[in-house]
């Protein structure tokens, strides 16, 4: 282990190297890609703002649709319809302002790339970003599996699931420790995003391609048809938006400078307590400093 990553004796803080250059580069390039993919994706969605389940489109009963219609007074209004339930969304979804003029469009101009309704260019943006995102994702997932640092940071250890309730309480009371590896909630979240949500985005995206369906017919089998894949693509995208909001919030409130440093220079200041698992044993921490004790000690200080 590199000296700059030496955790030092428990109880004292240490500057460790949390993220490798590969992780930091991947994180920021992917962040830009996801922003482009989301906004250009909303542009593409606007061309046909309805979602369906199955192989084809049952135009009369979409699972979800965004549109504009006239209300009881004859005024235009925007709405989102989910399984037939209509929610008024005038001003944002369905009916929104473009340069001061109200327009019928599913997602508003400020949320789409490019701003004006322009399907062909939205698709060019989307597929360009998709290439960068998809290729990097494949390499990064392989790296996450083989890299010792990544495995230590996000790998779930035997028995660690038992700490889930404890961590929920800690998160709920906004007590965040600065441990060497992630806590179990972080681990499960990042594992889900990395190994489930992001690959699902790629696979459901590929399923929408008629050429890919001919090449790999199992794609439509797995997702229950092209329109189901399109719906899942949309739902996973918004699951990622939800993840991003929580991610951003927690980065901000759990030590924003330390967190940002970890993803920019790689350096991360621990508070000396161990996370109770994993590394203290492997890294030959001094005897008698079992993680749980260290943690209790830490809590005692508060």
């Amino acid at each position: 282990m590199a000296t700059n990553a030496d955790p030092g004796p428990p109880g004292t803080s240490a500057l460790i190297k949390r993220h490798s250059l590969a992780t930091r580069l991947w994180h920021w390039i992917t962040a830009v890609c996801l922003l482009v993919l989301l906004t250009s994706g909303l542009q593409i969605f606007n061309a046909h703002p309805s979602l369906y389940w199955g192989s084809d489109s049952d135009f009369d009963s979409p699972f979800l649709s965004i549109g504009a219609r006239r209300d009881a007074n004859g005024d235009p209004m925007g709405y989102v319809s989910i399984e037939g339930l209509q929610i008024p969304t005038t001003g944002v979804l369905g009916w929104s302002s473009v340069n001061g003029h109200m327009q019928a469009r599913a997602f508003p101009a400020w949320a789409t790339l490019p701003g004006p309704q322009w399907l062909s260019l939205g698709r060019h943006w989307h597929f360009t970003a998709a290439w960068v995102f998809g290729v990097l994702l494949v390499f990064y997932l392989l790296y996450s599996i083989v890299s010792r640092r990544r495995r230590r940071l996000i790998g779930v250890h035997r028995g660690e699931m038992g700490r889930f309730g404890h961590e929920v309480v800690k998160h709920a009371t906004l007590r965040f420790s600065r441990a060497r590896s992630y806590n179990i909630i972080q681990k499960l979240t990042y594992l889900t995003v990395l190994f489930v949500l992001l690959p699902l985005m790629v696979l459901t995206g590929l399923t929408m391609s008629p050429t890919m369906d001919a090449a790999w017919p199992w794609l439509t089998e797995v997702f229950g048809g092209r329109q189901s894949a399109r719906t899942l693509h949309f739902l996973c995208a918004f699951a990622l938006v939800a993840f991003f909001l929580v991610h951003l919030l927690l980065v901000l409130i759990s030590g924003v400078l330390n967190n940002m440093r970890a993803m920019i220079t790689g350096g991360y200041q621990t508070d000396g307590q161990t996370d109770g698992w994993a590394d203290d044993r492997a890294d030959a921490a001094p005897a008698g400093t079992h993680g749980a004790n260290a943690e209790e000690r830490h809590h005692g200080q508060r």
Binding site: D56, W125, A215, Q227
Partner: protein
């Protein structure tokens, strides 16, 4: 379906107004924000290049013979969604329609050893293929229909393409959104010779209605809907489509859409 990236409920006239309004709004945005770099010419050209990457990758994973999924009769959509042109307005087409297409001749010319012309009856007399396939529109929706037609590869065998023929260009009777020049599309020889690439004259067991491209429309089942030209009037084999209309190989291609159209 075919020739469109927009909702079919709007008539071409309303559509034109919307396009003009959109262009006006675009101009206003340009004035307000300088030039929006996200849709500058340079950015568009750069982004368009990734189409080549997509094409190369899909050529690699999709073999020449890989077939589009074929569905069961029970999967056929009750109403197939029409869009693009739903009735060509030219007098020549009206005359063909009045004769119930008995005067229709499909000319195949260009880089072929034996140019030929086929009546609709002659096309229907050739061996046919019927396939229930999913139509994927570039807008995002899908519709399943049963198409019957003559395999394009069989027609190509009759006219014997020359060695330098690289693309098959389809010229149509319709002028989409009032375009001064007719709709057109093109396929490479691989896609043109794919067993599911047919010139369809039947939909769901009946003669192909005008709404869907009578007397014949192209089906290229591994591509998006706008590749599948309706109202095909004549076919030309060429080495390059650079000199045809906008030079990008199709009506929507000339308007920024991908020629490959596999995604």
């Amino acid at each position: 379906m075919a020739n469109d990236d927009r909702a079919p409920r709007t008539t071409p006239n309303r559509q034109r107004r919307r396009v003009l309004g959109g262009l006006g709004a675009l101009g206003a945005t340009g004035l307000l924000a300088g030039c929006d770099w996200t849709h500058s010419q340079a950015v568009r050209e750069f982004l368009g290049k990734t189409e080549n990457l997509t094409q190369a990758a899909q050529r690699l994973v999709a073999s020449r013979e890989s077939l589009a999924r074929e569905y069961d009769k029970s999967d056929i959509a009750p109403t197939f969604r029409p869009n693009g042109t739903i009735k060509p307005q030219t007098p020549a087409y009206q005359k063909l329609l009045d004769s119930n297409f008995t005067d229709y001749r499909l000319d195949i010319h260009g880089l072929v050893a034996r140019p030929a012309s086929f009546s609709l009856a002659e096309l229907k007399a050739m061996p046919s293929r019927t396939q229930i396939t999913r139509h994927d529109c570039v807008e995002g929706w899908s519709c399943i229909g049963q198409w019957t037609g003559v395999v394009l590869g069989d027609l190509l065998d009759r006219v014997q393409p020359k060695d330098n023929a690289r693309f098959v260009v389809f010229y149509c009777a319709d002028h989409l959104y009032g375009s001064p020049r007719p709709y057109y599309e093109s396929l490479d020889m691989i896609e043109a010779r794919h067993p599911q690439t047919i010139l369809a004259y039947g939909l769901n067991g009946s003669a192909l209605p005008v709404t869907y491209g009578a007397p014949i429309r192209l089906r290229a089942e591994r591509r998006l809907g706008y590749k599948m030209a309706k109202y095909v009037m004549h076919i030309e084999l060429v080495e390059s489509f650079a000199g045809i209309q906008g030079g990008h190989g199709g009506y929507w291609e000339d308007r920024g859409y991908s020629w490959w159209a596999g995604v």
